[in-house]
Amino acid sequence: MPDYNEDDYLLLSGIQHFNFCRRQWALIHVEQQWEENVRTLEGTYVHRIADQPHLREKRGNKLIVRALPVHSGTLGITGICDVVEFVRDPAGIPLSGEEGLYLPYPVEYKRGKPKKNDSDRSQLIAQLMCLEEMLACDLSLGYLYYNETKHRVEVPVTLSDREQVKAVLQEMHHYFAKKHTPKAKAGPHCQSCSLHNVCLPEMLKKRSVASYIESRLSE
């Protein structure tokens, strides 16, 4: 498959929105709408530690890099890894300006605690695939750090995980090319969505406007 044009790259962070709700993703990424709520502000707050691109740390056999921009031409995505830990490893790759061989491990910061579903995983897996492509290496592991539990969770990445992420991204590109905002099913998840006011999920299950007008006029 040919690489995507850089102009058509989608934001990596959108995968999570897309998994949460396709309509939410389209509202943010196609329609460019954004509203803050408690959860999004919390997210921003959690990321303040990670979002320090000038901070570079060496700890033992680790080199810790923050806010690392990544992309993948084959997946057509671009984004920023909160933290990437480069760990010395004989099976690793050489890094310019560093001695020895390293393997990168992406660490994604999340508000809250580990979720029952694996909605946080796809974003991390996509980051990992970007790193593989940019650094020409094979990876199998990343981490999700949860702010509420202050713990990181190890995320092994399998072949079928990758296939799943690829499929999701293809679907996202398909929607984006059509500039289409899909209708979505309203559900309990709407309560925690910051775009509730813009989306008006209640509206989508309403009767037609034609019948609304009809019934008012006949009163």
């Binding site: 196609v30 329609e31 500039k179 209708k183 006011n197 008006l200 209640e202 406007v209 034609a210």
Partner: protein, 343 residues
């Protein structure tokens, strides 16, 4: 639905507005007249030639707080806006509809339908509330004529025909508007609409209420990513916010006219607050204008059930909810634009 925040009206002329941390600070020379946190504000509206610091302008733009400059008499001067909200896909579709007269007519007729429906129910409600004071047969006759206009509008697909029906409905409604003024009749009467300049107290009040409403409508349209200058019923004219005028059609009566009537009928204003210039133009004094603004703010907080969304919202959010529904119609989520049909 989103929360309605406050609008800060600055009516003291010669004040300077600046930013201090997360607050807006109002100064008059060396004195600080007030300090308000930005996170409580939806909009800032200044009357008179008040200056605003660039830092405050930036902060307002960033937070989508509408910042509007008006002359002391309430004529619109300028507005500070940041990056346009929403995106080009929505606006281009808006332009496509606007360029297509038939498609424009399909949206415009629902604005007009809303306008006539609301006019009818303003009258019907008055006949119920003041059965003993009003010339009921006369008003009922107009109400029946408005019903007829609605039936016509419902199937119109031509803008000129639509304008014709709208015009005659407006004549009908205006012919009994004076009846709805129940207090202070010697000083407040309606013998027809005039605006450049308003020639009587009621027209002065109506003009001012329409200015306040048009500001709210314009901000609402922009905040959902629509272009307030590209309309469907009102065609393009440089400097005219045509879409805001379109959307005002359905809200004028039910929002602004009823507000003006309640100011007069509840005696919240009195004729001493108006003065006549040599050429007949009628102006309000500063205190009266303040009184009107205060009433406007209170009206905005009152709750209603949105007739289409079936959700409890404040009056102040009606322009926003209509703008949102219009955007959703343009994007294809809705089969028609649902006008605000008040009863």
């Amino acid at each position: 639905m989103k929360k309605l925040l406050n609008t800060l009206f600055v009516t003291t002329p010669d004040t300077y507005l600046s930013l201090d941390g997360e607050n807006i600070v109002i100064r008059q020379e060396e004195n600080i007249l007030g300090r308000y946190p930005l996170h409580n504000l939806e909009a800032v509206c200044t009357f008179g030639y008040a200056g605003v610091s660039p830092a405050l302008m930036g902060s307002c733009a960033e937070r989508s707080i509408g910042l509007t400059f008006m002359t002391r008499t309430g004529r619109f001067l300028a507005r500070v806006t940041g990056e346009s909200r929403g995106n080009v896909v929505l606006r281009k579709e808006q332009y496509r509809i606007s360029d297509d007269e038939r498609r424009s007519a399909l949206v415009a007729r629902n604005f007009i339908l809303g306008k006539i429906y609301n006019a009818k129910w303003i009258l019907e409600r008055a006949t119920r509330d003041y059965a003993l004071r009003l010339d009921i047969p006369r008003i009922k006759k107009v109400s029946a004529a408005l019903s007829e206009s609605m039936n016509l509008v419902h199937s119109v697909e031509d803008l000129d025909i639509l304008r014709g029906v709208e015009g005659s409905a407006a004549v009908q409604y205006n012919s009994v508007f004076d009846e709805l003024i129940l207090q202070q009749k010697d000083d407040f009467f309606f013998r027809g609409r005039n605006k450049r300049p308003p020639l009587d107290n009621v027209n002065a009040l109506l003009s001012f209420a329409y200015t306040l409403l048009s500001n709210d409508v314009r901000s609402a349209l922009e905040s959902v990513g629509l272009d307030a200058y590209v309309g469907f019923l009102h065609r393009d004219r440089p400097g005219r916010a045509s879409l805001a005028l379109d959307m005002m059609e359905e809200l004028r009566g039910v929002y602004a006219d009823r507000f003006v009537l309640s100011l007069i009928n509840k005696k919240l204003i009195n004729p001493k607050g108006f003065y006549r210039k040599e050429n007949g133009a009628v102006l309000m004094d500063d205190d009266t204008r303040k009184q009107v603004i205060k009433g406007w703010q209170e009206r905005k907080q009152e709750k209603i059930i949105h007739p289409y969304l079936n959700e409890k919202i404040s009056w102040g959010l009606v322009p926003y909810s209509q703008a949102l529904l219009l955007a959703r119609y343009i994007r294809g989520d809705l089969d028609e634009y649902p006008p605000f049909l008040w009863k």
